[in-house]
Symmetry: C2
Subunit: 413 residues, 2 copies
């Protein structure tokens, strides 16, 4: 009897958490400098991906990206000096999740960087994310900071962000759920594949483009159609705004965040608030690397795009995105099986996010740490892969480690 009561209490709490997620209406309202819109953000704060750690524990590409962020912000004349200031705490390194945003890969976010501002039309709750850096190999978020990266970051801040902000305001904000729903019927899972969503986003601001300055409109079109990944960032910001709604429901065992740094993977759970349960890095299940690369070249630099999986997208919608095979390896039957497996560890099915191949069944959503602990099945994750020395060298389907879920389940009991 005790067990039954306990289970039903948890189930009720999880249903309450999911209701908050389901009633969200994430709307892109603008593109503003992070320092203007992120609560608590200062010029000397550098945000990065994953459960936060002391500066001395960041290494490799993620460390390089944070140093690049300091230089981009003009807070130090060179990387050595930036390292000293970070070591002394004169510049602070902190986790994106604690500042209302999420980071892609290394996820470096600084005060002057433009972020997409997504607001829940019902609660006013916000989630933010920096802009896609374009399809160049050298990108700050993939651990590279050089002249070309700096030039591109300035271009994003001075040309793309203002034009995009004007267009978004001109159309009165952009409701993101309809784009996500349609994209799921067009081969996207909204994490590693955003091809259709990026096109649908462009369509949604078309009328406003006609009223922009001709040159600005041309630049914006070129940016939005370069590569097929623009929409990952609005999807992440939307997911952050939705997932955060679930924080703090007493007794709920539903995951509200998954993220990793260069060193650790971590989760947060509704009923335990902002506590991170940490564990080892996710493991590769299948991956596809660019020609000339092997698994030995892979370097983990962090990542918080897993917030899409938290909301029933990404690997939780793989059966909506068979074209992903060409990008991250794998094959359709395995993708379907993996997707079906996620129903075993989730508390519900999304009423709007639906998978055509599964006869329009709602995606599995609300990762329940008790179910993960009970089954030993951990969340599947669609992830971009960085290489040693910087740059993207591939993508893959990963698995989260079990330990953080076991620890969270214990903490809740």
């Amino acid at each position: 009897m005790t067990v039954i009561n306990e289970v039903s209490t948890v189930d009720r709490a999880n249903s309450a958490a999911l209701r908050l997620l389901f009633e969200s209406e994430p709307t892109l309202v603008g593109v503003r400098p992070a320092g203007e819109v992120l609560p608590g953000m200062t010029r000397t704060t550098i945000l990065t991906s994953g459960p936060p750690m002391p500066w001395s524990q960041y290494f490799g590409g993620q460390r390089a990206a944070v140093l690049g962020g300091v230089l981009h912000e003009g807070l130090a004349e060179d990387a050595a000096r930036a390292d000293v200031l970070l070591g002394r705490g004169e510049i602070t390194v902190a986790g994106c999740h604690d500042f209302g945003c999420v980071g892609s890969l290394a996820g470096v976010t600084t005060a002057s960087m433009p972020v997409l501002v997504v607001e829940d039309a019902r609660s006013g709750h916000r989630g933010c994310c920096t802009l896609f850096e374009g399809d160049a190999t050298a990108r700050l978020n993939y651990g590279t900071y050089d002249e070309s990266v700096e030039r591109n970051l300035r271009y994003l801040a001075t040309v793309i962000a203002p034009a995009l902000n004007t267009a978004i305001e001109a159309v009165g904000g952009i409701a993101l759920l309809p784009i996500i729903q349609r994209a799921l019927r067009q081969g996207d899972e909204l994490h590693s594949r955003n091809t259709a969503a990026s096109g649908l986003f462009l369509q949604s601001i078309l009328p406003a483009l006609l009223d922009l300055d001709r040159a600005a409109a041309g630049e914006l079109i070129a940016y939005l159609t370069s590569g097929d990944y623009f929409f990952l960032r609005p999807a992440m910001a939307a997911a952050k705004s939705m997932a955060d709604r679930m924080i703090g429901v007493p007794g709920s065992s539903v995951v509200t965040a998954m993220a990793f740094s260069c060193a650790e993977f971590g989760i947060r759970v509704s009923g335990t608030g902002d506590r991170w349960f940490r564990g080892p890095l996710p493991q590769i299940e299948t991956c596809q690397l660019l020609a000339g690369h092997t698994r030995a070249d892979i370097e983990v630099m962090g990542g918080e795009s897993l917030i899409t999986e938290v909301c029933g997208l990404g690997a939780f919608a793989q059966a909506a995105a068979f074209p992903l095979q060409a990008y991250q390896g794998g094959e359709p039957s395995v993708m379907v099986e993996r997707n079906l497996q996620m129903y075993e560890i989730t508390a519900g099915e999304h009423p709007l996010f639906r998978i055509p191949f599964l006869k329009y069944r709602g995606t599995p959503v609300g990762i329940d740490v008790h179910r993960v602990a009970h089954t030993g099945i951990t969340p599947a994750l669609d992830v971009g892969i960085a290489g040693r020395g910087g740059g993207q060298i591939g993508a893959g389907s990963f698995r989260a480690p079990l330990q953080p879920f076991l620890d969270a389940a214990s903490a809740l009991r």
Copy 2:
């Protein structure tokens, strides 16, 4: 020995026919009045779908649509007079296929109507098709001719066609294969689902839109984003230009056209040139009708969009388009099985048109009348459904009749 030699001769001929299809590079070069670009077209010619018949044999919605075409062209003051002129042969009713174009549903095409002009970049061979009439229920091609239909046809001819033609010319023509290839990875099969392709088409003319007159650009965007079916017509014109390349390869048993009128279904085969092999109308396998309608309300008014199936699209790519369930009924496992069945009656696999769910296998293409005759399996067809009294009332997956394939196989022997 004779049999073996015969088979290998046919196979060689079919391979030669398919090579012509595969080397085509259909490019949309403009939107022009049919009278300007269709060889042999005159002001008193009314083209319609299907193997052509004497005027007296057309009935119902297709007859109404032809009469509407006469009135639209200003050739008679009313339908009674139009009927007399058609009966006397002073106005000629003819088949689209004989004039280098294809028709959607009733397929009525008259001299002043704008048609999409698709040209094979290699051979210069052309295929044409009228413009999508928009998502209103009342459309000439669904058997209705009234004031609203006439107003819309004029709007297409005077506002949309010139703006679209300017944009197409400004970007130097639009290569259609890349759009089709991408759309197959985004849930389209390019016959009954063209959602992604329509968006990709819009993207391809975006730079030119910025240089159009502001009002014209606004109208064009509104038209191209109303409904998700714009691209069916460029797909049909492209398919016509590709399929026609296969005509007249001696001994080839590959189908070059499938079409139906209100009364008959017919096919043409490469080795027998422009001869139509006729049979009864296709049968419904699964369908979905708008609320309030039953199968008794269905009226056949013709259709030549089956040219997409001839080229390995439509029902021959159903496993690329699971979202079709919501539009024409059926379910994923049946769609996959049906798609796989089409490999049994085709002579090849398309090198560019690929199905993500089938591990990027090329679509079955080159319907071989001998294989159809031998297996008894006839082509599956994705078709829009018209209702008595006009208008679209649904869509479905149909099957072609066997007789025309048996007759063609006999004629070739």
